[in-house]
């Protein structure tokens, strides 16, 4: 075993350094693309094309004083963001950027990723709980609502892919991807896309962070490093979910001519662009409407999708 290579993979690409770059890049792209849909320019002055605006913002946030609420549990308040960040960072280890570029690959990739992602809402609830403040508390409770509505379609749609390809391993799924697989899993793809928007609290399902209702949800009391870690965890969560979508439904690194990781990033960008367009165009829906929507439409559809895949696979 080549330890140098493993170290490089963990620390540089696709490890920690790359993850920080992902946070910078997605934040910048989100601002720039949403600004374009608004008819604005977006970041412009700091660096070429405003590229360094996000860097400047992050360093500004790092300078901020860490304010801890008088009633809050100090230790937990400080620990929770770090735990959230490392949990998400753990999931990124499973992402295959190409056939050789990955950190961990096991026969149970998909299940482990889903399990780790499902335990995140509990940490976010905790972040709201230990803040001992009203808006974060409501935000934390709303995260559980997201969990109830989002995770089950996510699991059902994700596992239907494993059912079709007969494996939980990301690399094998990506390698087995073909046109028939894409078409059979099309319904699952749609369900998974909606589910990742719910799970990652993206608009129009950003109910736990609804600014106009509960300020910033469970992030309200956090400042400085704690805020950065929590917000970074949320950004990485979106990235992980998008990467999972690409791997499961769009063939991951598979593609002609270009190297695998280029294809992977192109596909990721396409899914991100869709999420940004949805953010710029659809108003937020209400909490009870979300539960009704997921349990009346999304979950039955996901179950039907599994039956469909079983029937198709049988023939």
């Amino acid at each position: 075993m080549d330890w140098g290579l493993i170290l490089f993979k963990t620390l540089v690409f696709p490890g920690i350094t790359f993850l920080l770059l992902v946070i910078f890049a997605t934040f910048y792209l989100e601002r720039k693309l949403v600004a374009d849909m608004h008819g604005r320019t977006g970041p412009y002055y700091v660096g070429p094309y405003g590229l360094l605006q996000t860097v400047a913002d992050i360093f500004k946030i790092l300078q901020k004083e860490v304010i801890i609420h008088r009633e809050a549990d100090k230790l937990l308040f400080l620990v929770v963001p770090a735990v959230a960040f490392f949990m998400v960072a753990l999931v990124t280890a499973f992402i295959p950027y190409s056939e050789t570029l990955w950190i961990v690959s096991t026969p149970y990739d998909l299940v482990i990723s889903l399990a780790l992602l499902t335990s995140l809402p509990a940490i976010f609830l905790f972040a709201g709980w230990v803040s001992k403040s009203k808006y974060p508390f409501i935000g934390g409770i709303r995260v559980i609502n997201q969990l109830i509505s989002g995770e089950i379609p996510l699991w059902l749609a994700g596992l239907s892919v494993a059912l079709w390809y007969g494996t939980f391993n990301y690399i094998e799924i990506a390698q087995k991807f073909d046109l028939i697989g894409f078409l059979v899993n099309l319904v699952g793809f749609a369900i998974f896309l909606i589910a990742i928007l719910i799970v990652a609290d993206r608009p129009p399902f950003d109910i736990p962070e609804a600014e106009q209702e509960i300020v910033y949800g469970f992030l309200t009391e956090y400042t400085g490093v704690g805020y950065l870690l929590l917000a970074g965890a949320k950004f990485l969560e979106v990235f992980v979910l998008v990467a999972m979508t690409v791997t499961l439904f769009l063939g991951g690194f598979k593609g002609p001519f270009l190297p695998g990781w280029v294809w992977f990033l192109i596909k990721i960008f396409a899914v991100y662009y869709l999420a940004f367009a949805i953010r710029a165009s659809i108003p937020r829906i209400r909490l009870d409407q979300l539960i009704k929507f997921t349990w009346n439409i999304l979950v039955p559809l996901a179950l039907l999708n599994i039956i469909l895949i079983l029937v198709v696979k049988a023939f």
């Binding site: 849909m37 608004h38 008819g39 604005r40 009203k134 808006y135 409501i138 608009p203 129009p204 950003d206 109910i207 609804a210 600014e211 106009q212 209702e213 509960i214 300020v215 953010r279 710029a280 165009s281 659809i282 108003p283 937020r284 829906i285 209400r286 909490l287 009870d288 409407q289």
Partner: protein, 375 residues
């Protein structure tokens, strides 16, 4: 659940039973006012308004002004549509001094007032989307608003707080370029409007969130004296421009936008469709502008003792001034009755029973301006 409009006056719940949320003063959607919300889980049990954080004592300050330079205070009742309040002040003082302004001034005042209404309503439409967490419509309407602000800037030198309508006429003579800029703004509105309307009006998520939310019955309109788009959305066809025409509004052909449903979506539609009516009025006024080169008549420095009442249909509803003169160079007492202060009290009746998420939607649909809420 929601049992129709009702107000809860007695104390609710036992101690520790409900969560009391201070929705404001420092809250992204509240503006400078506090709304005390009693919450049972996510459901609103009771709501209490607490305005007064930006009080400027405008009524008292007006007593230290002369008749003409009082405009700087009057236009600050709400900066978003300053022209309506300026028009009302001019009308009140002219009534006191028994001065009649020429027809061309009246027409141009109508143009300015309607530009103020459009500018304000555009922000209102954007704000009602903004309350649901999507910023695109706000950015789009702000782009359109710029064309009107260009006109105002070219005419008066200021984009907002123009101080352009004064007792006795308008401050400056409008030039050809002014009208060209206004024409450009109107053309731009008509060019973009079909797309905007398609995106804004038939937005399925907006309909889902706004329809049937915060219903104000007709009786409540009469009971609380609600005004403007809020009253018109509940089926009360009351508009000072039609019921008590002023400044030659009777010459123009336009409709009062009335909806029967009384919910937040109806209020949104009233605001949206009134922009079209305003565009219609401006076009008629520009075409039928009477000849005349006198844009300001001489006003007396001192006005004889007496009192006058004047009301105009402002963007947010009817605004009313009661002005008393003791024969001096300025007003002895001014009483202002503004629509936002009337409309905000509907919130205490209609919000209970809704979810917390609806509070932002209902609050935005009431179309409040914090400036005239506190004055």
């Amino acid at each position: 659940m929601y049992k129709g409009a009702q107000i809860i006056t007695e104390p609710v719940g036992k101690e520790g039973d409900l969560m009391v949320l201070n929705w404001g003063v420092q809250h992204p959607a509240s503006g400078p006012m506090r709304i005390k919300v009693w919450l049972d889980g996510e459901t609103i049990v009771k709501v209490e308004n607490d305005p007064g954080y930006v009080t400027r004592n405008l009524e008292k300050m007006l007593e230290y002004r002369t008749w003409e330079n009082a405009v700087v205070n009057v236009e600050r009742i709400c900066f978003i549509d300053d022209l309506g309040t300026l028009l009302n002040w001019a009308l009140a003082v002219e009534k006191l001094a028994e001065v009649e302004v020429p027809k061309n001034v009246q027409y141009f005042r109508v143009i300015l007032a309607e530009v103020g209404r459009i500018v304000s309503h555009l922000i209102g439409v954007g704000g009602m989307f903004g309350a649901l967490g999507v910023a695109t419509p706000m950015m789009w309407v702000l782009t359109l608003r710029e064309f009107y602000l260009d006109f105002l800037e070219h005419y008066s030198g200021y984009r907002i707080s123009t101080a352009s309508i004064v007792p006795g006429g308008v401050r400056f003579e409008p030039t050809k370029e002014d009208f060209e800029l206004l024409k450009k703004a109107i053309e731009e509105t008509e060019r973009r409007w079909p797309e905007y309307k398609e995106v804004f009006k038939d937005n399925p998520t907006l309909v889902e969130r706004y329809k049937g939310v915060g219903v104000i019955p007709k009786e409540l309109v009469y009971k609380l004296g609600l005004r403007g788009p809020v009253a018109r959305a509940s089926g009360v066809a009351y508009d000072y421009r039609k019921t008590y025409p002023y400044s030659s509004y009777e010459d123009f052909d336009f409709n009062i936008v009335v909806k029967e449903e009384g919910d937040a979506y109806a209020r949104f539609l009233v605001v949206l469709e009134e922009i079209e009516e305003s565009v219609k009025i401006i076009k008629q006024a520009m075409e039928g502008m009477p000849e005349g080169d006198k844009w300001k008549v001489r006003m007396p420095k001192k006005i004889k003792a007496g009192e006058a009442f004047s009301a105009v249909e402002w963007a947010r509803g009817g605004i009313e001034f009661f002005v008393v003169s003791d024969g001096g160079t300025g007003p002895y007492r001014v009483k202002i009755s503004a629509p936002s202060f009337m409309n905000i009290w509907a919130l205490e009746y209609i919000a209970p029973g809704h979810k917390l998420a609806d509070l932002a939607a209902i609050f935005a649909s009431l179309y409040i301006c914090h400036g005239d809420l506190d004055r």
